[in-house]
């Protein structure tokens, strides 16, 4: 009973909230700017638009999905606690878990509808601009990327929710959530590069006298060590797993004309990335819920 009432109220609040409108506007600005840039350099006609679409749109989606999670997770509990609305709601015959689950369900609806809607609207605009045909398989590919984005937003939501459960003030939770987001999205690539350089050493120099074959082998070995170290560090970030999914699907879509990688094979290779994106919220959300349910409002 309480769950559906909370769900309906949260949905209404989320879809009409300023932060959601701001995110939609930012998304549109990103997209329109990119589209106009491409139009300014002349729109080529593409036979297979999916790889182009996913490789450009995937980056925007990675940022937007993670921001969506942070934006709605940080004050889910702390905001209610700070405003005193948690007290008035809990004074009614409702269990604490119904309140938390109602909020989670509302977020799931919000993130799923907004990510899928924006993805397919963007695809429609892209195809209208660049031409090409979209097959049933392409719809599945795009849906798989959107699903990964939903999971990514859920990862950030669960992290922010955990901070929110512990914080008395929404501002504290927001700071922590944003710090994690900045660390994983912006700072980690720099750290990963520094770690990779320290592991693989600086790029090889002074190879002028070295025979071409041997030089290529040295550079290849250095690149292998550098990329391995970098990708190992980057795996701390859930965005890396999202990007791996996008990359694999793009590669599969690009090579489909040659039928080299069937979709089901690509799927089996990205399944671990999906699993990791799913496991994080599956662990963090129950932890947050249990802590919240056991908390007492003094």
């Amino acid at each position: 009973m309480g769950f559906t009432v909370v769900l309906k109220k949260e949905l209404r609040d989320m879809f009409t909230s300023k932060r959601f409108i701001v995110l939609v506007v930012v998304f549109l600005v990103f997209y329109i700017a990119g589209f106009f840039y491409l139009a300014s350099i002349g729109l080529p006609q593409i036979r297979n638009p999916i790889p182009f679409f996913l490789s450009s749109y995937g980056r925007v989606l990675s940022l937007m999905a993670s921001l969506l999670g942070v934006a709605f997770g940080y004050d889910a509990i702390a905001g209610e606690r700070e405003r005193g609305t948690l007290r008035i709601v809990l004074a009614q015959p409702i269990y604490r878990d119904s309140l938390a689950l109602g909020k989670l369900a509302a977020f799931l609806v919000l993130t799923t509808t907004s990510i899928y809607a924006s993805t397919f609207i963007s695809l429609g605009v892209f195809v209208a601009g660049f031409g090409g045909a979209v097959t049933d398989q392409d719809i599945i590919r795009v849906s798989l990327v959107a699903l990964a984005a939903v999971l990514l937003s859920l990862v950030y939501y669960s992290v922010s929710l955990l901070f929110s459960v512990f914080s008395k003030k929404a501002s504290h939770s927001a700071m922590l959530s944003l710090a994690v987001w900045i660390l994983l999205v912006a700072v980690l690539p720099l750290i990963a590069t520094m770690v990779a350089v320290s592991v693989a050493g600086p790029p090889p120099r002074g190879l002028r006298g070295v025979p071409q074959k041997q030089r290529a082998a040295i550079i290849k070995e250095w690149s292998r060590r550098f990329n391995q170290a970098r990708s190992t560090v980057m795996k701390i970030s859930p965005n890396t797993f999202f990007e791996m999914i996008v990359f694999t699907i793009v590669r599969e879509a690009a090579s489909q004309s040659g039928k080299t990688i069937p979709l089901y094979e690509a799927l089996s290779s990205i399944a671990p990335s999906y699993a990791i994106l799913a496991i994080v919220p599956l662990v963090l959300l129950p932890v947050g819920f249990i802590i919240f349910v056991r908390q007492e409002e003094k």
């Binding site: 009973m1 005193g84 008035i88 004074a91 015959p93 003094k298």
Partner: protein
Amino acid sequence: MELVVETKNLTKVYEGKVVAVDNVDLKVPKGVIAGLIGHNGAGKTTLISMLVGLTLPTKGSGKVLGYDIIKESLKIRRKVGLLPEGFGFYDHMTAHQNLLYLAELNGIKREEAERKVVEVLKIVGLEEQKDLKVKAFSRGMKQRLGIAQALLKDPQLLILDEPTVGIDPEGAIGFKMLMKRLVSEGKTIILSTHLLHELGDVCDYIILMKQGKILTQGFLKDLQKEYEERKGYVYEIKARRNAEKLSEELRKIGEVELKNGKIVLKCEKDSTEEINSVFKKIDGLVLEEFRVIEPSLENLFLYYYYER
């Protein structure tokens, strides 16, 4: 006497060391306005939280409206209207929307909820502001809206935690009138407050709390009767000389005590004439203070808080 609230050895210890409520045996009869009175930190809010199941007791048991406070807290919150301390409303929603949401959380069907919301807004005098967003409300209006939400479920018992904090004097008078009306309709009200002068006169049952314990509880008239016996007249006299002789003379009039170099005389009746005659007999006396101890709620409170 039918009890709506009854607890036995109710105790709450936070983090294993802070005793917020200490072995409380609370009894609240039906149809009274019970004042739960005590300083900030006396344990009033924790006691209330345990009564409605928002906080689990560390020890002890209790029943509210016949429901167990540990096992049947949801049933209690369905029947009890609670105005928690430090509550808030959703600022972006109107008064009407806020109440509708809370009514639906109580399982009241939409149509019935709409009717109820209008009814309670009228009771608290906010019917004309029902479509205003709560962010435009004053503190007093929010407090009235808080009472309105507590009335939504037509509760048999209302528990109001510090309900007059931030309300102007006019609002406080209106609040007292509303409380009296609700009790006349057969409801029971527990008012938690540290502002004795604001709510004391509306209560007919008193629960005094200090450091997590109940100092006393009972009908005001019974407590006052006990205290009435302590009604008295106090004279504080400073003797520059002849202190011993003075004490001897004063013992014939009442109870004598030496306090901070002064002689404190406590009499059951007005003894001004007798004291005047002593002043004529002995030189060097100064009457520094004279006061009458009245059986007011404030004095009753001070008596239990500091003297007993």
